[in-house]
Symmetry: C2
Subunit: 159 residues, 2 copies
């Protein structure tokens, strides 16, 4: 696992496992690579969401962006400072930057870029460590938790 100082709580661990299993269920039902994310407040789930790029005709609607948008609507503010972002897959640069615009400083995800190969980011020569450094260390993260559950789906593009 790629670890910053983050140690996941039992509730975070459980929800990320559920997100991974949801992504697998979606992949079994619909094929392709499926992505899921959630926003938590401490140990409480606020929202969960899936990638809905195709449904919305909006290339920005990755699972993480959709989850943060839904959390913003639920709480009445775009500012999600103090919340935690969970994702079945390492957030791309778009989602990482959106997370920071939302004020989120705690991130936990399953499949790591280094385990995935190409096609999961747009600035692939930059690692999350590079982006973390370029943000001045503005967030903490843990990648690789429950990675084994989803890796085959992401590598193969099918369940």
């Amino acid at each position: 696992m790629t670890a910053g100082p983050v140690i996941p709580s039992a509730a975070e661990d459980r929800l990320l496992r559920e997100l991974c299993d949801w992504a697998l269920d979606l992949a079994r039902a619909q094929g392709g690579r499926q992505f899921t994310a959630a926003v938590m407040r401490g140990d409480q789930e606020v929202v969960r969401a899936r990638n809905d790029v195709a449904e919305t005709c909006d290339a920005s609607r990755h699972a993480e962006i959709a989850a943060m948008a839904q959390a913003g609507r639920a709480t009445g503010s775009a500012d999600l400072s103090g919340y935690t972002l969970l994702s079945s897959c390492q957030p791309c640069e778009m989602c990482l930057a959106a997370m920071r615009w939302a004020g989120i400083t705690r991130l936990i995800f399953a499949a790591r870029q280094e385990a995935l190969g190409e096609g999961f980011s747009q600035f692939g020569r930059l690692t999350i460590a590079d982006l973390h450094a370029a943000s001045g260390g503005a967030f903490e993260y843990l990648g690789g938790l429950h990675e084994a559950r989803v890796l085959a789906m992401y590598r193969m593009g099918k369940a």
Copy 2:
């Protein structure tokens, strides 16, 4: 100006000037820093949009993301390959990555990061040249066109 190989057409030049003037009008009416963007198909305007983070409670709704989402709805596809993105301000990393997820390879903007100072990006230690290189040169861009119109607003945070 920071130039890749992009030479703006008369229509692109005109629309970017209009976007800058729209941002200034918004700043005069509402205060603060205002951001505007458009999507073009060749010399034809498809949509224009402004930042609506506050209205939507969604930190991802920068002007560029809003414009691309609107263009996707208008065309019925998240794939905007062959389209051009214009913005009153240099797109942040989120918007740049979203542009690439949408398949857009041509970008023209006014105010450049290097002229703006801090607070306009989340990974401020990376320049657009760094991100361009990290994408494998996947897009071409021109920054600084009509920059003088909007620079004072962005530097001051008010018109």
